[in-house]
Symmetry: C3
Subunit: 677 residues, 3 copies
């Protein structure tokens, strides 16, 4: 593996954040002061222009870019680079007023009024035309600016639109997908059910809330179409900026576990993946340790959208948010911990929303590097400390995370499970189950990637596939090959129920011959009421583990039973099985338990896979980045108390000390240990 | 009483379910297989075509009935009859697209989009015309098919429509009802309140959510109108099929305690009552015993919609539903228990939704006789067992349930109580109170019918009238006659507050002279906050029972006080009274308690009425069907453990054994005991 | 201070209520009977015509006032005065049908249907024209009727409208406010944020729910505009009636803590303040004592809207409401207690909704003086007792409450805090905090007014300013003057964050130099999750008090620290401070605690202020009214048990006994003690 830094010109890691100088053009004193503050905090890059359309073009055809030029020039002169956004994140009022088709229509058919953000109609030619115009002007003027590091396409894209233009585009999309053959669509969507057969494509409407929300295939295809349409619009933005200078990379800032877009499809069209991270730290429903490891999971999701290079932590708050239900302060040291964890899991940047608090409007109380009252405060001091640390560990830039285990997660699987009418309809906990499995494997000492069932499995020795409801064509066969070749595979209840159009596999679940791989089939799915409990007793153990939410009732063909239900009419029937197949093993967990109760199985899989686990003391999060034969070992103390790790050897870039034996970390402390050559 | 079998041609009970062969027309292998499976399960009838409009008429004017003919022919050739539906349960897409007035308008004035089901505008002439056309073609072709057993009109009719056509029809309905005299309506609805007087009928709008939802009379009349309009549309369907062959009976499948239609009015227009039953078995908020007895209550409701003949259990799931909040499996034996209970309480059929699982769309995970994976499973085995049992007890067909007690339940009373602005506004628990009273009387050993306050009381010795808020003209007088002639009457708080237009009775509650019958009047109604409690101490007993929700404060005229409040400022005032009047007794319960705490009163009433109670051990549900001098005694074990009933004598049709002494039932077991001649 | 009776002609206090004879015009027997009943209950005034538009003008241009003349004449002949309403509380159906622009449009842009009440579009010229017409006819006929005491303008005005007319008026309002300078508005609303800059006033829309709800300044200004527009419409009503007879005073009945209108602005335009009071007595979430003291707080709010004269308790229920979630009966004696408390806190009236129950429609079960069944009941007897007491204490009429402490409460501060995106976004508990502080000061023995931060402070020695988020121009300076001159000031977290347009004060909070007054600044605001707790330890005390919801982290400049946090990373930092400045003291409480835990500070402030506290035993509410050198001391027993107050001296007008020493009050009993001359 070779180092592949995102921004060679930076010669290290990027430290930055969103900055809105257009709010302060009448205060040159503040703008000048800000630059001094940024330098003090070790900031080497800012993101500009994210919501500047109305500053660039306050009236249709009247343009103002001079302020941006001044700001970029001055920043560059002070060693600060710019990530420049295309301004589609929010439309100016004149645009919506003159071209109302730029406004979306909601799922009741009601057109939105002007306001808010992230809400243009992706199909409106008026919108696309005006956007292309402003983007072109921006690109012409700034694509070759020496301070320009990257384009930031739009902002946190999302949502869908039910306007007539989108409906028409949806129809064309379907016509194309189904070879202009309405009977093909009728069959794929099983429309004979409830007399939903279409006689022509023109009859198809989006899933209006007061229309067709009961055709599973339509629901799923609408989400795929929305992804497609959003990407199509994003690509039209990228084209313009690339045309001006193909060397400037583009990114789009994604949102943690956002449901509305298939990010894996989107990621293909951008150069670098970046995301905005706002965990609920110090909440009252889970441990801080759980929160931090879920955050590591999220990093893994985004890292694996483009496995060949580092990702960017585009936004996080230096202190608190203002828009969550409860906006609690990050405790001292947590910003540092979060920054180092981001790098540990594959990010080459630590960026904030925001550099300076806005004086008014919606986010005037959102945390920022520079407060209304200036910088004489804890938050600025902690940001500056992050700046120092990033400089100390700058050699990490361009290295990679190398995982031998992978968790399967597909957006369309997620959507299908959400819409599925069965089990506890309101919440099947797919996302939570993914996090729980990932977190527990991680605690067992394995670094885990998060990939698609359509991705190549050859880099991995372990595949974890919770609730793999949809089996895309070829997946079952590839999983079988994987196990045959020595892979360790874990699947659960709800595996292989449907094909990619959500038609059930006939012949039993898991379908598409997966039943043979696991050596079982699932005869029935029992759903438990919230206070219902069952249990599983492992073979040879006295203790039982607790079961809740759902239980598949299995028939075993040729698997080995390693756990059995303890209660109810399916007491003593198989709940956990394994089948050795070829050189590998295929595990099946038929019921929902706490992931931590499955640790013995996870440990066995890691052992079977020949992976040397990095088992840490409690409350230590561990990750590695590697390249050019160098290994950077990241130790993160998730406790606010001092914590130790035994048998560490190397040079800690942060404390700048040699470690030989016990590594002692202060509360929320971190170490980045390199081998001593 | 004489036997009156619904379907003499069947020579016994009907065992069947909904079947959708149009989903599998490209799979003749599956269709052929299905028939073999059905025969194996003892199925003698299926319901076809419930959602087949788009299969019959995929494009306007293009018709396809050949598949249906093939299916019906083959079924008939295999001894399986058909119940054929009119296809108005769901509209084809082309219909809504071409004639948008077929789409309903919601209570915010927003027209629905095409999709879902059960949502045609009942007033649309376009809809009615197209429906008449397709129904005529269906009737012409199949009304004389030898396999045709019955017409199934539409499906689970419900909902209302606020479109201009419906509004206009509502106005005409009101004009007719109020003799074209707007002042008569103004007076009946007390519109002087809040300046709501109308100057002409045209001013009246339906109760839009953002319009007039505060005129009690309007709210009530809108529901009566919706019932009337739905029946009017249903009758137009019936006319067509009866015209083709008047000998084929019609039914409409009703929904348990559905709120939107007065089923008693609807039942008058069909030949046989049928309903769809989906209890939440094994839930975590009530005992299984309570669930089963509530189910018996529901059967009583539907049985009494047409007291002169058996009803049909048109739908139930063989295993689980897919659309409830939590879709739990029925435990082994429960399908059998449910089937026998249905027959015990007056059904001559046991029918399932559905024969075969659909491969896709909304109900692809709903329980079915035939699974995606075939029939080698518990569910199919249990359905087959039901088939066997139904054959064993086929002589029950056509017998009747003979109850001497009746509970009063009127839909308009229900609606009025829901809308009533008083007490705990959000939930006055009328429906729950009905069930609780019915269940407790049943546990005390009395079979109880559920009838209207407008029905004839002469068959009964006990009338239970909880929360009889509306007094229709003549009801007070008829109740008085009933008691005078020896009847036992029980009423509660909230009795006799209004007339049929929801105008309060002046002169005190209970109004219309019922105050004289009970010998009390209610001076005030106290509503308790959720955690508030009061109590009642019965005369001569130490124990007190708990009171919650509401307490009327009574003044006694000439009743006997049998219980007094234990707390608060009305401590020691009367809470339960009885007045002996003529040869009967009139009980008044002024506060809400658990129904089981009133058992001593219920037992006294049963005793007074001279009814011999069938008192069973705990967890035994007991019912009788009778005809031609024969009595079928049904014993249902509501426990999953073995359970016994002492002193049983006769021949058990299910075990095919003679019982003399103790009847032993296995978990969820059932027996149908006939006298030995 | 001089007595200033509201209605000299009454020669004492007013006892009355809403009366709707137009509902009973066909029952002259009932109307005649009602007058006898009223006289029996000591009622000397009724409110008429509140919802009579459709009785006056059942069809456009057809008028009927003869019935009103008859009723007013008869009442007057029987010694009963009339408060006459303008009928805009509800529109007749013909009006909305013919002029649909009289109907409001909701915040999704959907126009309401006819119905309900309090929902005219304030901008509709059609509405205003028709209203002016009916008001003129009413005024011409009745403005000089000898029985007319007062005009009651409309009823419980509220709500807002998003129709095009209102939008246009909003634009004009803004144009006027911002000097027709769009850049001035852009700056005030900080619209550069999220690209929300407007290029002209015409682009501005109201805050549609699916539009601009994220511009804080727009949200706030919309509420100010709605107040302005509602007052403008109200003034057009007042003009008409004043033109007919300028001597008849006008009022508008306000609603307790209603959020939608700035009552302080509205109160300026009416002669007398009146309000409708419906506390949740005897609920299950707080003590009765708390409920009653919150009610006293509400009286203080309304009293201080016009400090120079008594206010009116325009509506309360004699027994129960019908529209609350749980409609519980007032316990015996509570109506009397509530009546005397109203007078104690500054009301010269006790008025009911309603004199007689309506037979039908929405409020047919609302408590009334006269029941459906007549007057032989507890409620009527209690109302009659109130009538007797009001006669005994009639010399109180025209006296005033004289408070030396004031709590600051501004409607725009309330709106700004609600909309603020920070802390626990859903509920910052401003209103609850106001009540808690007021109640606790009251328990500590101080009578407290409730005033605006823009009001004159010179009458007061104590200013309590919880969560004074907005600092209007000059307020900070006036507070500083207040303290300098010896005032005791208390502020809390969230003080002085923004200016009147919701732009943050730069330079630290509390802004506008308040930081100097308190000697502290607030570096960060921590928000606690619901189950999080911190504590405060007072200097020199062992005990700590509990902290929840929010904690500001302070930096002390030159204040004295009197309490420190006990936990978390800001343990031992200052939580409560005081700074002596000039002759006064400025207290700052940085975290939320129970108000009762702050009692030592409140007591110190009262002592510092030289106010002699009226400290009462538990469950005794105490108030004074004074004038012409006379003091009326009101003792209210909030317990349902007997309760005593020591050292009372004087003549009790209610028991008509001389008290010298211990005053004994029965459960819910009251005494009004005058000095013996």
């Amino acid at each position: 593996m070779k180092k592949q830094p995102l921004f060679p010109v930076l010669n290290g890691l990027l430290h930055g954040g969103d900055y809105n100088p257009d709010q302060w053009l009448d205060r040159p004193d503040i703008l000048a002061q800000d630059i001094e503050y940024m330098k003090k905090a070790g900031i080497n890059c800012v993101s500009l222009g994210i919501f500047s359309w109305s500053s660039y073009e306050p009236r249709e055809g009247e343009y103002h870019f001079e302020w941006l030029k001044n700001v970029m020039d001055t920043l560059y002169a002070n060693g600060i680079y710019t990530i420049l956004a295309t301004p589609s994140g929010a439309k100016p009022a004149w645009l919506d007023r003159k071209y109302p088709d730029c406004l979306r229509v909601d799922n009741m058919g009601i057109r939105y009024h002007h306001g808010d953000r992230h809400n243009y109609c992706m199909s409106s030619e008026n919108f696309r035309g005006k956007l292309k115009n402003i983007n072109s002007m921006l690109a012409q003027r700034f694509a070759h600016h020496p301070g320009l590091l990257m384009w930031h396409i739009s902002n946190e894209m999302g949502g869908d639109c039910f306007c007539p233009l989108c409906q028409q585009k949806f129809v064309e999309y379907l016509r194309n997908k189904f070879d202009n053959d309405i009977e093909k669509l009728n069959k794929a969507w099983w429309t004979t059910f409830w007399s939903h057969k279409y006689s022509c494509f023109e009859e198809i409407e989006p899933p209006f809330a007061n229309g067709s929300i009961d055709i599973m295939g339509l629901m799923l295809e609408w989400r795929r179409f929305t992804t497609w349409n959003m990407i199509d619009c994003m690509k039209s933005e990228i084209e313009v900026v690339k045309a001006a200078n193909p060397d400037i990379p583009v990114t789009a800032n994604l949102m943690n576990m956002y449901n509305g877009l298939d990010y894996r499809a989107l990621a293909k069209e951008i150069d670098v993946v970046s995301w905005d991270s706002y965990p609920r730290f110090h909440n009252d429903w889970e441990s801080f340790d759980d929160t931090m490891r879920e955050l590591a999971y999220s990093h893994a999701v985004f890292r694996c959208l483009k496995k060949d290079k580092p990702f960017m932590l585009m936004e996080c708050t230096p202190s608190l948010t203002n828009w969550q239900a409860y906006n609690k302060l990050k405790r001292p040291g947590v910003m540092r911990l979060q920054a180092v964890q981001a790098v540990a899991t594959g990010s080459d940047t630590v960026q904030y929303f925001q550099i300076r608090k806005s004086r008014g409007s919606f986010e005037q109380y959102h945390g920022a590097v520079i407060d209304h009252a200036g910088i004489d405060n804890r938050v600025f001091r902690e940001v500056s400390e992050v700046g120092d640390i990033l400089k100390k560990i700058d050699s990490v830039a361009g290295t990679k995370v190398n995982a031998k285990a992978a968790l399967l997660f597909d957006w369309d699987n997620r959507w299908a499970i959400q819409d599925m009418q069965a089990m506890c309809v309101a919440d099947k906990k797919y996302e939570k189950t993914l996090v729980d499995f990932w977190r527990e494997f991680n605690r067992c000492g394995a670094e885990v990637d998060v990939i698609s069932s359509l991705d190549d499995f050859s880099d991995y020795k372990i595949i974890i596939a919770p609730m793999l409801y949809i089996l895309h064509p070829g997946v079952a066969q590839r999983l079988t090959e994987f196990v045959k070749n020595g892979g360790q595979l874990l699947a659960t209840y709800l595996t292989g129920y449907t094909d990619e159009n959500l038609l059930c596999h006939l012949g039993g679940f898991p379908g598409d011959n997966l039943s043979d791989l696991f050596g079982i089939y699932s005869e029935e799915m029992d759903t438990l009421f919230p206070s219902d409990r069952n249990g599983i007793k492992f073979r040879g153990f006295e203790n039982k583990i607790e079961v809740f939410d759902c239980c598949e009732i299995l028939k075993v063909k040729d698997a080995e039973v390693i756990g059995r239900y303890t209660d109810d009419f399916y007491k003593d029937t198989p709940a956990i099985t394994v089948k050795c197949f070829g050189d590998g093993s295929a595990y099946y967990v038929a019921a929902r338990t706490k992931a931590s109760d499955l640790a013995p199985i996870f440990e066995q899989m890691i052992k079977n896979a020949g992976i040397m686990p990095n088992v840490m003391p409690p409350m230590i999060d561990y990750h590695e980045r590697v390249a050019d034969g160098e290994v950077y070992r990241f130790y993160l103390n998730l406790s606010d108390k001092e914590n130790c790790v035994a048998d560490v050897k190397g040079y800690d870039l942060i404390s700048e000390k040699e470690i030989c034996g016990t590594l002692t970390l202060s509360g929320y402390g971190t170490a980045v240990v390199k081998n001593i050559k």
